[in-house]
Every structure is written in structure tokens, then in C-alpha cells.
Amino acid sequence: MGKRSATCKFPVARIKKIMQADEDVGKVAQATPVLISKALELFMASIVEETVKETRKRGARKMSPYHVKRTVHENDTFDFLKDIVAKVADPVEGGSEAAGDNRGGKRRKTGKKESDDSE
């Protein structure tokens, strides 16, 4: 695996701003957002890879938000994303939202409501 150069990165200043949106975060060393940019890249790779698996599992060719949701629920490390993906609708039987790539298979039991009381 070739080492990718750090040219395709996220904007460092933007990352710093996002960090400091948190009141607890005070000063940030110059190198820190640079590292976070890299970590972000790796994170994207990780979640995209897992989502692609979901997409393929369902015989689809386009990654839909629902596949991301499934990935989040199947991986503990992506736990923190549960709230973000919660708003993604589960494909309904015969629904056209998922661009027709759901074959109306198993309907998920929606009785699983986990209110996450973090802290």
C-alpha cells in the first residue's frame, strides 16, 4: 500500500474552528488540527469501507444513507454517530426513497428504542 501524501487534506483552520465550537476546548497547538485532518481521512476510509460492504450485501450499487445507518449500528466504534443517523428513514416496503434498491426484504423491528443517556 503506497503512502499517500498529505496533499488531499481537510482545511486546518476549519477543523480548528469546529474544535473550538466546544466551550471546553481552549488553546490548540498548531500541529493538532493537522493530525485531526489525518485521523478524519482514516475515519472516512473506515466508514466508507464498511458502508460499501453494506451496499454490496444488499445488491445495491449506490451507497445510500441507510447503508451508513446500518454500518453505524453494526460497529461499536461508530456508536457516537447513532444520533446523526437516527434521522435516516428505514426503507419502507415498496418505498421509492431508497432508489429502488431495497427488495422489500425483512422489516426491522422498530421496538428497539435505546435512549442514550451519555453523561
Partner: protein
């Protein structure tokens, strides 16, 4: 360097901060195999996930920083935070980036000291620069 509140055109809502779509799009595109594509909604969702990841990582790194009795979040804190959050597989590459960055910083410092070591005073350097400008201007005029 104080953090002054500058009106950014929006009502200063930091929650609207996001990442540039084009960068994310390109990144996703590079990662995808040839037979899979990404819906626009999915890309937007992934952007939100990224921002959330930054918040998570910052928060954790901040905790590490406080336990370290420091006031500035250092790269080392981020590395520890990654491990704490279960992303230890990222640690190696992230450490590489840190090494590169430090290297670049050293080279930058070398350049400034090189200027001091060139043996020319600032005036002489400035004059040299002006000569260079005049020369390139003359070339430009000639081309016109």
C-alpha cells in the same frame, strides 16, 4: 492571540460549521471501488459524521490534556485520545503525519536562519529584491 468574536456573516452560529463538500466528495470518490457510487445524501450525511468525529476527538483530547495538566491541546493528546476511543489502528499513520509536520517546521526554521547567514544585511537583501522586481517588470513590458 485572543479569540475575538468576528461576525462571520451568519449570526455567529458555530454549529453551522462544516467541511467543504468538494474535498469530501473527492475523498469518498477515491476510496470507492469502481462499481459503487455515492448518493448526494450519503455524502452530506458523511460530512455530518466527520464533524461529529472532530467534536468527539476534540472532547476526548481535551480531557487527556487536562489530565496532563496542560492548557494547550498537543498532538500527543490527540494520539492518546484516538486510542481511548477505539481508533488505535489510526495511531501509526497519525504519528507519521506528526513526524512529517515537525520535519517541515525544522526546514522552515532553517530557511529563516539561512537568510541571516547569507551575510547580507536587510538593506542589501531588499535592494536585491527590488532589482529582481525591476528585471521581471522590464521583461513583462518587453513582452507587451
Amino acid at each position: 492571540m485572543s479569540d475575538d468574536e468576528r461576525p462571520l456573516g451568519s449570526s455567529g452560529a458555530d454549529d453551522e460549521l462544516s467541511l467543504p463538500k468538494a474535498t469530501v466528495q473527492k475523498l469518498i470518490h477515491d476510496m470507492l471501488p469502481d462499481d459503487i457510487s455515492c448518493a448526494k445524501d450519503t455524502r452530506d450525511l458523511l460530512i455530518e459524521c466527520c464533524v461529529e468525529f472532530i467534536h468527539l476527538l476534540s472532547s476526548e483530547a481535551n480531557d487527556v490534556c487536562e489530565k496532563d495538566s496542560k492548557k494547550t491541546i498537543a498532538p500527543e493528546h490527540v494520539v492518546k485520545a484516538l486510542t481511548d476511543l477505539g481508533f488505535e489502528k489510526f495511531v501509526d499513520e497519525v504519528k507519521d503525519v506528526l513526524k512529517d509536520h515537525k520535519q517541515q517546521q525544522k526546514e522552515r526554521e532553517k530557511k529563516t536562519s539561512r537568510m541571516e547567514q547569507s551575510g547580507m544585511t536587510e538593506e542589501e537583501l531588499q535592494r536585491q529584491q527590488e532589482l529582481l522586481f525591476a528585471a521581471s517588470k522590464a521583461r513583462f513590458d518587453a513582452a507587451n
